[in-house]
């Protein structure tokens, strides 16, 4: 009996077993049997009854409903106590047959069991059941009869149906694959199922069957095993001694819940079930014990349940297998996917980024995934295995990711030096082992035995845990911050320093940039980090360079103009960089007068290079953050750039990539100098014309900075965006003069790093400034041919100066298992991290080759990965006409497609402006995983229904008074909360209804799309009286009506959830070309646009390529 418990997990499995749909035709009985051995017997009768009572089918899911149905049919059956027996034996025989097939599958499929909840699937099962043939047989013939009948039918029919049904049930959309995924999510690994128990069970009854089922076997296996077991048990119990039965049942219940009951009963009930009145059924469900009589009521239940759970939905019919993987039906012939490929069945990440959970569950002390994500948590144990993993292997690190309140990283202060490994310099972490009664600790990365300093000593208890564990966050938490002692300082902690290099040529003034910028900085002065230590300074430039003396004793800043651009010098030794709190009034006076000072400036030149050098001279003593506001192409002095422009003729040639590289080595050289002196550069570019972002961005790339690009900046439109992003840049918590190193265990090594930083030695990243919006990726390779350790550890250490002037070390530690099986690697894969790494590799590739090649490289990697995966399973399964992929990577093809269509990689000459391409590339190189995924597959949400509903409710409100008040109040409040969970729509034109109003949000902008047939009321409410005019001139602002307020609420809610960038709202009316195309249509990644594939085409393309050479 004990063995039964394990079954619960299996429970889900059953459904798989029930291949009813297909079997039906053969004989009703057969189908039930297939579902589960015991089921078959009992089920036969119950089913029959049900089937006959067609009504069930419809009602399917509801147990209660089913029950009633049963009653009528079964009555006769219930009477026989004997039937169970007879049924039992039969079952037993059947069961073995069953098992065998399943077992084989199970071995193949590592997959976890189907979804636990019976609720959903049942319905489908019911429907399938309907087979009329059964009813008569089931009802009329006593259980015995049914048995006899079954054996003949069942064997043949069952095996095939079983698998199919399993898949289909869970996820209708994914034809076959559906179910497995769910199980995955639940995170039931094979191990979950207690294999021994099952085996035991089985073995007793039928040795042959047992062996077949793999011990580790997936839940499926277990499930199947269980079934047989049940059957046996029941049989035994019945035959041997009646009293036993109840007990056994109970046990089962414990494990399974309802199912067990059903299963166990079924045998007994076989005949009886039908009889039991509905009420009785319920009772049974709750507690069997009372039921001992068992026979009657229970029987009914089981049958129903079976059907529900076990029955495979007809959908599955094609070829469900109890696999480990997900699949997509593409029709049997590669070319003919039109028929086979169901658009709605394609996997879509409509829930956003779903992080793999199993990894975190395995190692609880790992740092949170927001800090560190591995592309696959299963580290291959050999190079040959690693070479079969065609996707990038590595990690994406966001060392300062924002933490929700309550999960702050604990701060640790060691009075006498930080505890580190002598050899590899690893910081003490939760995975180190204390030995020798606490006097030594073993480094988890290089396994060297270190001494524990006397003041860090603590006794170790019997289980090897230190007694003071709960007072040592560094030994419990995967993420901690150490206060660094003096050895970690080359100089005293620097103060936060902000230096502004501002273009004041005519275009800057005309676009209104100068004014917005000055206002924003002024409003942020209070919130700059660093309190009284913060330093600030300004330089402006056009064809000359202007310095400002901000000495605190001056009433007004003094301006000094340097026009010698060849030999830049600093006119004043001090006071160009001042303490903000002391010179506050002067700084404010400067910012107030800045826009008016250059109001009439007609200068069109830009001495950017010399100004950059001047800023460098001023800042080099301290380092800090340099914010550059550039409006035109640098035209004077060093670093002058040519209007090399976007030449259509260069596309497709070998020189194509040169336009994406910095033109002048001046910029790279400056960037190197900046990094050396701890200066981070953020570039704000505003021009409507070509400004060579590729060159300017180099400054940000090598100094850990960021590029903000506002093409064609107009203060009236982009004001809010610049304001928000600049103030976030100025006020977010920043880490200064930082260096970062990622250590990892023996045998693996980080070989390359991707992101915005400067590599100081082979593995030390120099980061003059870091903040929560920056992530870094690194690629991993195996150094040794064979890894012998069971676990590989990673440790990210970021040494930085906080804005408050403390030197700290932030340490994130994570462990990952070493696996020997490629399937396991796939199972532990993390699509988000893979895509993040893949995008960085692709963007880097565009700097050395054509766009086309970069796109092909992505495609090739995905194809190779899927092909390898297919080869894993092709042997055991008939896979024709199906594309298979691991559940963990189900979104990989879609994200890959989105990546190919993203700004940096999209199309060719005419598709994206060169500057925009470069800016997007620089941005994507630094984006954390979550933001990147959102950018690649943005949210599309329909809001008009929500708005209308709410406003209707509201009008009711006004009309009806108190009575209605109460009744509406509740729904209304619930609806507002309900909104954020609103369904995201697939990104295709088909999702857009002409009567709808949609919001499209990619993290960087909103597009509000007005359908042609949208009620004019809404439009009028949103944009005012001039709703018929050109939308490019209208902005969405709060108006005094309910709809407008509501939509602003929604937008603000979205903005709040993703504050790193400001989402500027663009209004677009359907059919309003080219605006609609520009803003929205090109971003609908699932559609075919400008020569790029649509999602369905893409999938079939991948499928065909996977097939080739497969």
């Amino acid at each position: 009996m004990g063995t039964e418990n394990p079954n619960p997990r299996n429970y889900p499995l059953r459904p798989a077993a029930t291949p009813f749909a297909s079997p039906q035709s053969s004989t009703p009985f057969a189908s039930p049997q297939s579902s589960t051995p015991f089921a078959s017997q009992q089920s036969s009768t119950p089913f029959a009854s049900q089937q006959s009572s067609t009504p069930f089918l419809s009602s399917g899911p509801v147990v209660g409903s089913e029950a009633p149905v049963f009653r009528p049919g079964p009555p006769s059956a219930s009477n026989f106590p004997a039937p169970p027996f007879s049924g039992g034996p039969l079952v037993g025989t059947e069961a073995p047959a069953f098992r065998l097939p399943p077992s084989s599958r199970s071995s193949e499929g590592v997959r976890p069991p189907p979804p636990p909840s019976s609720g959903g699937p049942p319905t489908s099962g019911f429907q399938s059941f309907p087979n009329p043939p059964m009813p008569s047989a089931g009802q009329v013939p006593p259980p015995q009869i049914s048995h006899t009948g079954r054996p003949a039918f069942a064997p043949p029919t069952r095996p095939p149906p079983g698998p199919a049904s399993i898949f289909s049930q869970p996820q209708p959309p994914l034809a076959s694959m559906g179910s497995p995924p769910q199980s995955l999510k639940t995170g039931q690994p094979n191990p979950n199922i207690p294999p021994p128990a099952d085996q035991h069970f089985f073995s007793a009854p039928r040795p042959s069957s047992q062996p077949t089922s793999p011990p580790t076997g997936t839940s499926y296996a277990a499930g199947r095993g269980i079934y047989p077991g049940y059957a046996n048990m029941q049989l035994n119990s019945v035959s041997q001694d009646p009293p036993m039965q109840p007990a056994s049942f109970q046990l089962q219940q414990g494990g399974y819940g309802p199912r067990l009951q059903s299963a166990s009963f079924p045998l007994q009930q076989g005949g009886y079930a039908p009889r039991a009145p509905p009420t009785s059924l319920l009772a049974q469900q709750r507690g069997y014990a009372p039921i001992p009589p068992v026979s009657t009521p229970s029987g009914i239940y089981p049958g129903n349940q079976f059907q529900q759970h076990g029955i495979a939905p007809p959908v599955a019919a094609q070829q469900g297998l109890a696999e480990d993987f997900s699949s997509l039906s593409l029709g049997s012939i590669p070319g003919s996917f039109d028929a086979g490929l169901d658009n709605t069945a394609l996997p879509r990440p409509l829930d956003g980024d779903v992080e793999p959970k199993c990894f975190a569950d395995m190692y609880e002390m790992n740092c949170k995934s927001r800090f560190l994500r591995l592309t696959t948590s299963g580290i291959p144990n050999s190079q040959s295995l690693a070479s079969r993993w065609h996707l990038p292997m590595g990690a994406v690190v966001c060392p300062l990711a924002e933490t929700p309140p309550g999960e702050e990283v604990p701060i640790v202060n060691f009075a006498t030096g930080i505890i580190r490994c002598r050899r590899c310099r690893t910081y003490v972490n939760p995975y180190v082992a204390f030995t020798d009664n606490g006097r030594k600790w073993r480094c988890n990365i290089c396994s060297l035995l270190n001494d524990v300093p006397s003041d860090y000593f603590a006794q170790v208890d019997a289980s090897g845990r230190r007694v003071d564990l709960d007072q040592r966050p560094e030994l419990i938490k995967g993420s901690v911050e150490f206060i660094a002692p003096a050895e970690y300082m080359v100089r005293p902690p620097m103060p936060p320093l902000y230096f502004f290099l501002i273009d004041v040529s005519i275009s800057a003034v005309k676009s209104g940039m100068l004014e917005v910028m000055a206002q924003t900085i002024r409003s942020c002065l209070d919130n700059l980090p660093g309190s009284t230590r913060t330093q600030i300074g300004f330089i402006t430039y056009d064809s000359t360079i202007h310095f400002y003396n901000m000495k605190s004793s001056l009433p007004q800043p003094q301006m000094m103009v340097i026009s010698d651009l060849d030999d830049v010098f600093v006119p004043l030794p001090d006071d160009l960089l001042v303490n903000l709190s002391e010179s506050r009034s002067v700084v404010e006076a400067f910012l107030d007068s800045l826009p008016s000072m250059f109001q009439d400036n007609m200068n069109v030149e830009s001495a950017f290079g010399p100004a950059l050098k001047a800023a460098f001279l001023v800042m080099s003593q301290l380092g800090g953050k340099l914010l550059i506001f550039q409006n035109t192409l640098p035209s004077l002095g060093a670093g002058r750039l040519k209007l090399r422009g976007d030449d259509i003729r260069i596309y497709g040639t070998d020189k194509e990539h040169t336009i994406r590289l910095p033109e002048d080595s001046f910029y790279k050289q400056m960037a190197a100098d900046f990094t050396k002196y701890q200066i981070a550069v953020n570039v704000y570019a505003f021009s409507d014309k070509y400004t060579d972002i590729a060159s300017l961005g180099t400054l940000a790339k090598y100094t850990g900075g960021q590029v903000y690009y506002y093409p064609n900046f107009q203060a009236s439109i982009h004001k809010d965006k610049l304001k928000h992003e600049l103030s976030r840049d100025l006020t977010r918590e920043t880490a200064w003069e930082a260096v970062m190193r990622i250590r990892c265990g023996k045998g693996v090594r980080f070989t390359s790093y991707h992101g915005n930083f400067m590599l100081r030695s082979t593995d030390l990243l120099a980061l003059p400034a870091v903040d929560c919006d920056k992530a870094y990726a690194a690629q991993l390779s195996l150094e040794e041919t064979l890894l012998t350790t069971p676990t590989v550890y990673f440790q990210v250490a970021l040494l930085y100066t906080s804005s408050s002037g403390e030197r700290r070390i932030r340490v994130h530690t994570a462990a990952a298992p070493v696996v020997a099986d490629l399937g396991e690697m796939y199972r532990l894969a993390d699509t988000g991290a893979i895509i993040s790494l893949l995008s960085r590799l692709a963007i880097e590739k565009t700097l050395s080759s054509k766009l086309e090649e970069a796109r092909n490289a992505i495609q090739l990697r995905i194809v190779k990965a899927l092909r390898e995966y297919r080869n894993l399973y092709a042997v055991q399964h008939r896979l024709s006409g199906r594309m298979i992929y691991p559940e963990s990577l189900k979104f990989l093809p879609l994200y890959g497609l989105a990546l190919c269509k993203s700004l940096p990689l999209r199309g060719g000459y005419s598709d994206v402006q060169l500057d925009e391409r470069s800016a997007a590339a620089y941005t994507m190189m630094a984006l954390p995983v979550k933001s990147l995924l959102k950018l690649l597959y943005p949210n599309l949400v329909r809001v008009d229904e929500y708005l209308v509903k709410v406003s209707l409710l509201r009008s009711c409100f006004l009309c009806w008074s108190m009575i209605w008040y109460v009744s509406y109040l509740l729904p209304m409040s619930s609806q507002t909360e309900e909104f954020d969970t609103k369904k995201r729509l697939p990104l295709t034109v088909e999702s857009l209804d002409t009567r709808g109003l949609y919001i499209f949000d990619d993290g960087f902008r909103f597009v509000v799309w007005f359908g042609k047939a949208l009620s004019p009321d809404i439009t009028k409410n949103l944009v005012g009286e001039d709703f018929a005019t050109d939308f490019s001139k209208v902005s969405l602002s709060q108006r005094d009506n309910y709809v407008s307020r509501k939509i602003m609420e929604i937008l603000n809610q979205y903005r709040k959830s993703d504050p790193s960038y400001f989402q500027l709202c663009h209004l677009v009316r359907q059919g309003d070309q080219p605006r609609e195309g520009f803003f929205l249509l090109t971003s609908l990644v699932e559609d075919q646009t400008g020569g790029a594939n649509g999602y369905a085409d893409w999938m079939s393309l991948l499928y065909r390529q996977v097939q080739q050479n497969a």
Partner: protein, 218 residues
């Protein structure tokens, strides 16, 4: 001209504050900072240093005062009036004690009071120019007597510690080497003994063997 300013805890040499953008126009800033750190370590070792002292180093001169277990140190040009330098340190001391006086013992991390650097910077500027009226009047002020303050050379000061170190090192080397010598002497003695008697023993052995063999077989 004040070039460098540092404040440290005297008992353990933990740096508490350092002037902002110090050493901008000094050639070997790092070198002098190292010297200062060595100096702090010396002080922390509890050598009986006077609480006020000037130490010459290259073209510059360190001045320091120790008050309430805090050491205030500055580095100036040699030509900079001693009187002003000590006035400057007094100013720092007064402000520092006022603001952080009660937290000095509990400071656990280096540069715990780095915020004080803004005050240092401000004060430094006041002392930058020796010709201002304010500074001239201070120079003429006889209230503060600096003539007795000892001036020594940095090599001397750092040397004291170094020499002591050397002596102890040498003596320890001496003891260990003499022990080694004794061991080796014993060893040699034994070897000499063996050398002396080994041939005799061998000859005797052979003789006895022969005798034994003869007795046995004949």
């Amino acid at each position: 001209m004040v070039k460098l300013t540092m404040i440290a805890r005297a008992i353990d040499g933990l740096p508490l504050v350092e002037g902002l953008d110090d050493g901008r126009d000094v050639q070997d800033t790092e070198f002098y900072k190292q010297q200062v750190k060595a100096l702090f370590k010396n002080l922390a070792r509890g050598q009986n240093e006077p609480s006020r002292m000037s130490i010459e180093t290259g073209p510059y001169i360190f001045h320091y005062i120790i008050e309430e277990r805090v050491c205030y140190l500055t580095m100036c040009d040699r030509a900079y009036p001693k009187k002003l330098a000590f006035q400057y340190l007094e100013d720092l001391k007064n402000e520092f004690e006022r603001v952080y006086g009660n937290q000095i013992e509990t400071a656990a991390r280096p540069y715990a009071f780095i915020k004080f650097d803004t005050f240092i910077q401000k004060t430094k500027k006041m002392y930058q120019d020796t010709t201002t009226q304010r500074n001239i009047s201070k120079l003429n002020d006889e209230l503060y007597e600096v003539h007795q303050i000892m001036t020594r050379n940095v090599q001397e000061v750092l040397g004291v510690g170094e020499k002591l170190d050397q002596v102890s090192q040498m003596s320890s080397r001496l003891t260990s080497e003499s022990r080694m010598y004794a061991d080796r002497a014993k060893d040699l003695n034994r070897q000499a003994l063996i050398k002396k008697w080994a041939p005799v023993a061998v000859v005797l052995g052979v003789v006895f063997l022969l005798l034994y063999v003869r007795n046995r077989f004949w």
